[in-house]
């Protein structure tokens, strides 16, 4: 992994510069040379380096200390080593006072320089990891994690702040990949329940009886295989929040049970007689049109109104295209670290390509696309060629005609069947290809009675 670290050797003596650079390259680092302080500053401005070796005296022009000060203005976190053949206590003190991490007198022992570079890289690796983990923490579990400059999204942020501390049930509606769970987490984190559990349940991923036991828990012997008492998600959530994803896919019996919990705010474990109070806040989400399901008689109207006390409707990515550059940068920053790649940016033509794309799988699809591009990228900047795979998809811009007389539901069924067929029934892979999460795909499989 040394090839991801960049070192600049700055010395006016060509032999000194080239031989040290060659020696460091043997360790696998990417090493460049600069003949003067000015050249070094220009190079640092163009592409930052992780470690700078600066000769103290470089006539004519700016010397090592001045070069270091200029570089620090551009890159406060850079490691700078001042090297000199004419060591005095004064120059050493001055170099360290101005911010050099190390002061080396040439010629120095190979062991000294080798150990210094190794330790510096170890520290930088830890700093990089630490910075990433900190960002991950704040981004994933706080309201600010949702990145947007779209007006409709900002109205949602205001609503979240307003209702976060209330107990009212929230119904989040939006297409797959629009960030329903992120909004649910934001509601939890921004309110007074943040210190208590946030429990997520994907209602579509589980069979009816399993879901029942998952939500309400069960007593020992309640059914075959119930060898011990188990607490359900409502109980585990305590005074926190319970997130019921894909609520539109639950069975009529569970709709009834859930309605009862919402009305009475208490429940029983399966096979149990002890009444347990329900203190958690319910946040439900669905990618289905629940009003339509109510009209068709697929979803209980009374439950719909109980759930829909506060309604949050998330726009699709197509309706907030101005967020694409922000999201792309955010994903690059996060995913490049995870993938251990040195990708930092996206080219203008590539960004235009992403802005023009349809994104039926919304933000999740955009995230998967960036991840795939990073994994195969060779340079520091993602370019159009890195997104070639987008053009291979049938929606890549070529005009697509819906088969005559086929409803949207039928098209969805055919799409799911065909992808599952291609993946040999592998749900995880099929969900990735379709740009939906697994629970959504399970729901589709069940909805369309697709044999597996």
């Amino acid at each position: 992994m040394n090839s991801t670290w960049r070192i600049l050797v700055v010395d006016d003596e060509v032999a000194m510069r080239e031989s040290l650079a060659a020696w460091l390259r043997e360790d696998g680092y990417v090493v460049d040379g600069a003949a003067s302080g000015r050249e070094a500053v220009e190079m640092a401005r163009a592409t930052p380096y992780d470690i700078y070796f600066l000769d103290l005296k470089m006539p004519p022009g700016i010397g090592g200390i001045e070069t270091m000060i200029e570089i620090r203005k551009l890159q406060p976190e850079a490691t700078v080593v001042i090297i000199t053949a004419y060591a005095t206590v004064d120059t050493a003190i001055n170099a360290l006072k101005e911010g050099a991490q190390e002061y080396m007198v040439k010629p120095c022992n190979p062991e000294e320089i080798s150990l210094f570079v190794k330790r510096t890289i170890e520290v930088k690796n830890l700093q990089r990891e630490n910075q990433y983990l900190r960002q991950k923490l704040t981004r994933h579990y706080t309201f600010q994690d949702i990145i947007s400059k779209n007006a409709a999204m900002h109205a949602i942020f205001d609503l979240i702040k307003e209702v976060a501390s209330q107990r009212s049930t929230v119904l989040i509606q939006g297409a797959s990949g629009t960030g329903k769970e992120l909004v649910a987490r934001a509601l939890h984190e921004a309110g007074g329940r943040a210190a208590r559990p946030f429990v997520g349940v994907s209602c579509a991923a589980l069979a009816e009886t399993l879901l029942e036991s998952e939500l309400f828990g069960h007593e020992k012997g309640a059914f075959t295989g119930a060898t011990a008492r188990k607490r359900g998600k409502f109980e585990v959530a305590g005074g926190g929040s319970i997130f019921l994803d894909e609520i539109g896919d639950i069975s009529p019996k569970l709709q009834m049970d859930l309605l009862r919990v919402l009305q009475e705010r208490r429940f029983f474990r399966l096979g149990g007689t002890e009444e347990i109070p329900m203190e958690a806040r319910i946040i439900a989400a669905t990618n289905r049109n629940l009003q339509e399901a109510v009209e068709k008689g697929d979803f209980r109207e009374d439950l719909f109104y109980r759930l829909n006390v506060i309604n949050i409707r998330l726009p699709s990515l197509c309706d907030r295209r101005e967020d694409i550059p922000l999201l792309v940068n955010h994903f690059i920053e996060r995913l490049a670290v995870e993938a251990g790649k040195q990708v930092r940016d996206v080219s203008k033509p590539a960004l235009k390509l992403l802005m023009d794309h349809d994104w039926p799988g919304n933000v999740r699809e955009l995230e998967n696309t960036i991840e795939r591009a990073i994994v195969t990228a060779r340079g520091e900047t993602l370019d159009v060629a890195d997104f070639d795979f987008l053009a291979q998809a049938p929606r890549g811009g070529a005009k697509w005609n819906a088969p005559d007389g086929m409803s949207l539901a039928e098209i969805e069924k055919h799409a799911v069947e065909s992808v599952l067929d291609r993946t040999g029934g592998n749900i995880k892979l099929a969900a990735e290809i379709l740009g939906v999460d697994r629970s959504t795909l399970y729901a589709m499989v069940r909805r369309h009675n697709i044999p597996r």
Binding site: A15, S19, L20, A22, I83, C108, N109, E111
Partner: protein, 180 residues
């Protein structure tokens, strides 16, 4: 593949013979012995009583012919680069030539009784190391691999005169790419 072996004046012919035979065996390739190279006068640094590796390597590259895939230069003198007090050898990653000094591989250098066979054993390890760089290999974290960085003879003595599995596979890929 053809590897040229270029002794610098002063190196014992018998040692060079032994090391050349090792190179031919290790890489299963042809070798060509070049006439000894006179040490360039400007390579000597009076102040340090050592020879400048970069100047020596430049002089060696001037006598390299185009049919040589790699050039191994062997000197008996102590060598340095300006930033470091000494080096055992020098090679450019993916470059055409590698330089090895036998001076600090000798026990006598450290005030101990001579052990000629030990010196040759260390030289074999460092040849695999320096030529490895010319084939694009970088330092390896496996301390027993010939590509591990050595900053003293103890480090060299821990190493084997062969590559670890990962470096060997890497070298095989690079040699295959060179051949193809």
């Amino acid at each position: 593949m053809l590897i040229g072996v270029l002794p610098v004046e002063g190196a014992a012919a018998a040692d060079i013979d032994a090391l050349e035979a090792f190179v031919a065996r290790h890489y299963a390739c042809a070798t060509r012995r070049l006439p000894p190279l006179a040490m360039p006068p400007d390579a000597y640094d009076e102040h340090r009583s050592q020879h400048d590796a970069t100047t020596l390597l430049k002089a060696a590259l001037a006598v390299r012919t185009a049919d040589l895939d790699r050039l191994l230069v062997v000197t008996d003198r102590d060598i340095f680069i300006p930033m470091l007090t000494f080096i055992f050898g020098q090679a450019q990653v993916d470059g055409p030539a590698a330089l090895l000094s036998l001076a600090r591989l000798r026990q006598e250098f450290y005030g101990m009784p001579a052990r000629h066979e030990l010196m040759l054993e260390r030289a074999r390890k460092e040849i695999v190391h320096e030529l490895g760089h010319t084939f694009g290999l970088v330092h390896c974290a496996d301390k027993q691999c010939a590509m591990a960085l050595s900053i003293n003879v103890t480090n060299i003595d821990i190493k084997r005169d062969a590559l670890c599995g990962a470096c060997a596979r890497n070298l095989a890929d690079r040699l295959e790419a060179m051949a193809g």
